[in-house]
Symmetry: C2
Subunit: 195 residues, 2 copies
DNA sequence: TGTTTAATTGACTGGTCAATCAATAATGAC
DNA sequence: GTCATTATTGATTGACCAGTCAATTAAACA
């Protein structure tokens, strides 16, 4: 029965929206359920408890991000194009829409104490790192793993800053900064090679 | 009377510790007061409400960080030494001790909705950026402001990763990654100059 | 010492909320 | 249409908590 799938989807969407509006994880399940157009009991019926509901929402966000990356990578051939695809997907508008930002921030908080959240976060870290290394290697050689760690952290750091800067609505400059960092890495690598 | 100063200090320290242990901002003022060895009422008497208490704690953390940076800068002469001082202070052990990590994460969450938290965060951003530009300029010239933005975001991103990675206890590798990024920036700048 | 003033207490209130569960409605099988 | 199964409700419970305030204690001072 697709009923359950639809309800779960609705509840997850409502969770993200609600967290986005209040900014915190301390939204009530009642509010979320109301927004989804169901009774509070149903949220517990499908997800068990509040934390599980939030983690399901976070999993959905991470899945969307993964899909976006994969789609972007599909149309990219060269390493440089693939890196551009990763950067583009990382700062896609969907990453800033609705409650995605608020969800991420609260996800970080939860990752301190929830094993499942920590697991999910580590998964995201590994995926991003492995994607970056794969496409940096042809450009930077042995420096690739280190550069990938830097770029991954930079992506997170820039996201954080743009997400938390009140006036910043347009994410384009964020991606631009990562591109500039990549250019710097390539310039440094080239200089090292010719030395 | 120094009594009030002492009590405020105790309450702030207890707040940071308590947040550190639970990981969240949803600690009760009662628990904090108990840890500080006073009654719940006193916390409200001195700080007004819970948010003000947390913001006072965050201000204390930011002040400590500022002191640390200033002290490190005092013993540094060359731009390179000063940059090293900033990096060292940014990953000082005190930044990972007690509830500093948890406080920072919850601070980010709060910055979405609290004007005062957003103000404090912007202040931190400005200070760091201005320090970095000041000492990057002699090394990188016009590239300094851009490189400073990258380095600032990188510091935040790396802090985030190290703070949230379960097994990482030692912050030394974190600082090392920022140093490597700085070296990359310098190498790229040198290459650009000779071109 | 007695008196004023400041510091501190902790019981209390009003409200909130996660989670439960018994009851009801919808769905589908035969 | 009857019955069984599944989906859904929403009232309820029990616990918790921010913030208040009247009462108490300690400090300061004359």
């Amino acid at each position: 029965m697709g009923k359950e799938v639809q309800r779960r989807r609705d509840l997850i969407a409502a969770t993200i929206r609600e967290i986005g509006e209040t900014g915190t994880l301390s939204v009530t399940v009642g509010k979320i359920a109301k927004r989804a157009g169901v009774s509070p009991g149903l949220a517990f019926h499908y997800f068990g408890d509040k934390e599980a509901l939030f983690l399901a929402a976070m999993r959905a966000i991470l899945r969307d991000y993964g899909d976006e990356v994969r789609a972007a990578l599909a149309g990219a051939d060269t390493p440089a194009e693939r890196l551009e695809a990763i950067i583009g997907a990382s700062f896609a508008e969907s990453h800033f829409r609705d409650g995605a930002v608020a969800a991420w921030l609260n996800f970080y908080v939860l990752a301190q104490t929830s094993d499942e959240a920590a697991r999910l976060l580590a998964l995201y870290h590994r995926r991003l790192h492995s994607n970056l290394v794969h496409d940096l290697r042809p450009l930077l050689g042995n420096e690739a793993p280190c550069a990938a760690r830097r770029m991954a952290a930079l992506i997170d750091g820039i996201y954080l800053r743009f997400a938390l800067t009140r006036d910043a609505v347009d994410a384009a400059p964020a991606a631009e900064e990562v591109r500039a960092a990549l250019a710097t890495e390539r310039a440094a690598a080239e200089a090292a090679q010719s030395a």
